[in-house]
């Protein structure tokens, strides 16, 4: 198995990082309230990041999950207020031959998509989902309610998990046709929405089923969380190097040094697990590697961002400092898409423990 990056991949990362460091500034991220349309336009237009993993026949670049992962990690670093994770996981979840138009729209940047999986009260337990699809002419009609739809307030198309004739599948719906309720969120850099469907027109776009879509979201969230953790750790390290107490930089205090070391170890481990999941995305191993990565990476990101506030002391508790934005994203990433206990139970089952 190959874990290194090609020169082209490294260049892509540099390009995205450089672009985001210039444009996705703290001030702009804070002002965006979860969606910066201009940023999104340039990311998808100039940089074409939404097209990376989409096959060339639908107007994409035909690259792999690895390229998408590189962008996701960078997006995590700046808490990108744009629906990148939502759009690329939706694109990855659908079947090309069923969703050519959707993929073309995503590739050219004209369509924002998102996965709509969870339902109110039952969260990410596919067996409990009750959303249904029924045939109507050439297409389908959808009924049900989806909750915690990431970036649902700005998505053009939702890819919805629903059951038709006892067969689970993924259905594309124009969000304009659904009843949409945007939420304020703990993490102000990524909003969520509720979508309600009442005989809403839909198109079948995925037969591989919802479990794979959930795995994709887990892996994507893991890689993004690695970016969140790395940026937060760097922010903290910079602070410790400059801030003095008792007349010396905080970076001289061994107790703090050792905690930084432990956090760095956690981030390294999270990086390994998140990228391992991406690398096995096409194999049977993915069904275990993806929830493991989600658990490990969001746990590391939470540990780093929470400790970041502690290590920043008073300033880390203020609104004006970015430390809390990282904590809030890490917290949301940990709480969304299944808590640790649920994930461990699922992993035990899938791994036959």
């Amino acid at each position: 198995m190959e874990f290194g990056f090609t020169a082209e991949q490294a260049e892509l990362r540099d390009t995205v990082r450089s672009f985001l460091s210039r444009h996705a500034t703290s001030a702009r991220v804070r002002a965006a309230e979860g969606f910066d349309a201009g940023l999104w336009q340039r990311l998808t237009g100039e940089l074409g990041v939404a097209a990376l993993a989409i096959s060339e026949e639908y107007g994409g670049f035909g690259a792999s999950e690895v390229e998408v992962g590189l962008v996701l990690e960078e997006a995590g670093r700046v808490l990108l207020p744009a629906p990148y994770l939502a759009t690329v996981t939706a694109a990855a979840a659908v079947d090309g031959e069923l969703a050519a138009d959707l993929l073309a729209g995503i590739a050219d940047g004209s369509t924002i998509a998102t996965l709509a999986l969870a339902e109110p009260g039952v969260g990410w337990t596919p067996e409990s989902w009750t959303c249904t699809a029924r045939r109507s002419g050439d297409g389908y009609l959808l009924d049900g309610v989806k909750e915690h739809v990431l970036d649902g307030q700005v998505a053009d198309v939702a890819v919805v998990a629903a059951v038709c004739d006892a067969e689970p599948g993924l259905y594309a719906v124009r969000t304009g046709d659904a009843r949409r309720t945007g939420y304020a969120t703990l993490d102000p850099t990524r909003r969520q929405a509720r979508l309600e469907f009442t005989a809403t027109p839909a198109t079948l776009v995925g037969r591989r089923g919802v479990a794979h879509a959930l795995d994709l979201l887990w892996a994507a969230l893991a890689v993004e969380s690695v970016g969140v953790a790395r940026a937060s750790l760097e922010l903290t390290i910079d602070y410790l190097k400059t801030r003095e107490q008792f007349g010396v930089p905080l970076a001289h205090f061994q107790a703090l040094r050792h905690r930084i070391a432990d956090l760095a170890v956690a981030v390294e481990a999270a990086t390994s697990s998140a990228w391992y999941a991406l690398r096995v995305a096409g194999t049977a191993e993915f069904a275990v590697a993806a929830p493991v990565a989600k658990l490990v990476a969001t746990r590391a990101a939470y540990a780093v961002t929470a400790e970041s506030i502690q290590l920043h002391g008073g300033i880390g508790f203020t609104w004006e400092h970015d430390a809390h934005l990282y904590l809030k994203r890490a917290t949301a990433n940990q709480l969304l898409l299944g808590d640790e206990v649920t994930l461990r139970r699922l992993i035990a089952t899938r791994a036959g423990l």
Partner: protein, 382 residues
């Protein structure tokens, strides 16, 4: 009066007084909500003061109630049970007053204790500074003697309730030449003067309990010093120790209510039926029992004894426990905890606000330093 009679008295009083306009105060003003509803809570403090509940545990010779520890605990228990609002006079009552009783002059006690007991003067604490972090010995605020007054210049942070306080007890450097721990003095400074500016700090909760306080040639009378010039470290460290004690038990009643809410959330969400979550919730409950056992044991230390590291032990027990309760609360609430309405839910506020528990009033790191100094001897920092 027997403890049972005392309890009945407290309960009756609360039942008959926490009513009418004050009924709206129930449950407000706690940690993370200290900014709420100040005018009505001020009136409520006066009500408490008029009835003699403020200074309940002070010696009667100092105008206090001379109540036993058991009675003070009972007052806290009943106050919490009745849903009494967060207190505004507690900094004066529990931090300044014991300091004056231990270190102040008779004149100072006569001047300052009665208005605290009557809730006609509120206090705030001027210790932490932006460049000193939790390190009191690094305080840079300066005070110079100028005839009949001290002139104070500097900046304080983490100053809760500064915007309503009439007075501030300020740790200031009066002898820049002396070793760091020696050159400090403990001054009582009126807030209502041109030289004092209060600026609220917007916290990660979006609300503002804490303030920055700027002293720019602020003045206070020469006699408003507690102890001698240069005694500030000793006096201030004594005051920090007073933060624990009986008040701890009151705090724990608040914790118990929060834990009940967490359990209620777990029950409502079905999580409580899950043995893994039940195990964790039970561990949190056990942690709270330990806090209580510990408070009861350390309360047994003789009066007048100024505990050294025990305050640090207590802080390192309750602050991380409380912070973990916030994390447990979010986990138990699940994905719903990622959504907010117009403002944060109680659980989100608990989670966010407890991030500060391990920082203010001496961070975990400072407390560990203090304990290690005692057990392993002092060494140079860094």
């Amino acid at each position: 009066m027997s403890d049972a009679d005392f309890r009945a008295t407290v309960r009756d009083w609360l039942a008959t007084h926490l009513t009418g306009e004050f009924a709206a105060l129930a449950g407000t003003g706690g940690p993370g909500r200290e900014h709420e509803n100040i005018p009505l809570r001020t009136a409520w403090e006066r009500e408490l003061g008029d009835a003699g509940w403020i200074g309940l545990g002070w010696p009667q010779a100092n105008g206090g109630g001379g109540a036993s520890i058991a009675q003070q605990v009972i007052f806290f228990e009943e106050y919490a049970r009745a849903g009494g609002p967060g207190r505004l006079s507690h900094i004066g009552e529990y931090l300044l007053a014991p300091t004056l009783i231990a270190f102040g002059t008779e004149e100072q006690r006569r001047r300052f204790l009665p208005p605290i007991a009557a809730a006609t003067e509120f206090w705030c604490q001027g210790y932490s500074e932006p460049d000193a972090g939790s390190d009191l010995a690094a305080v840079q605020t300066r005070a110079v003697r100028d005839g009949d007054v001290w002139r104070i210049t500097g900046q304080k942070v983490w100053t809760s309730l500064a915007h309503i306080a009439d007075w501030c007890f300020v740790l200031a450097r009066t002898d820049p030449q002396a070793p760091k721990h020696r050159g400090l003095s403990y001054l009582l400074v009126p807030m209502d003067q041109p030289g004092v500016q209060v600026r609220p700090i917007t916290q990660l909760t979006g609300s503002s309990e804490f303030n920055e306080v700027f002293f720019d040639d602020a003045v206070t009378a020469a006699e408003n010093i507690v102890g001698q010039p240069g005694d500030g470290w000793r006096v201030a460290t004594g005051t920090l120790a007073f933060e624990r004690g009986v008040a701890t038990l009151g705090q724990q009643l608040g914790f118990a209510r929060e834990l009940d809410d967490v359990i209620g959330t777990a029950r409502a969400g079905g999580v409580h039926d899950d043995p893994v979550w039940r195990d964790r919730i039970t561990d949190a409950w056990i942690g709270l029992q330990v806090l209580r056992h510990h408070a009861l044991r350390t309360l047994g230390t003789p009066e007048g004894d100024l505990p050294g590291v025990e305050a640090s032990v207590a802080k390192l027990l309750w602050a991380p426990w409380h912070q973990q309760l916030g994390e447990l609360a979010m986990a138990v609430a699940g994905p719903a905890a990622t959504l907010t309405g117009d403002e944060f839910s109680d659980i989100q506020r608990l989670f966010l606000f407890t991030r500060a528990d391990t920082i203010y009033g001496g961070s975990n790191e400072i407390q560990r330093n203090i304990i290690a100094d005692r057990l392993l001897g002092r060494v140079p920092r860094g």
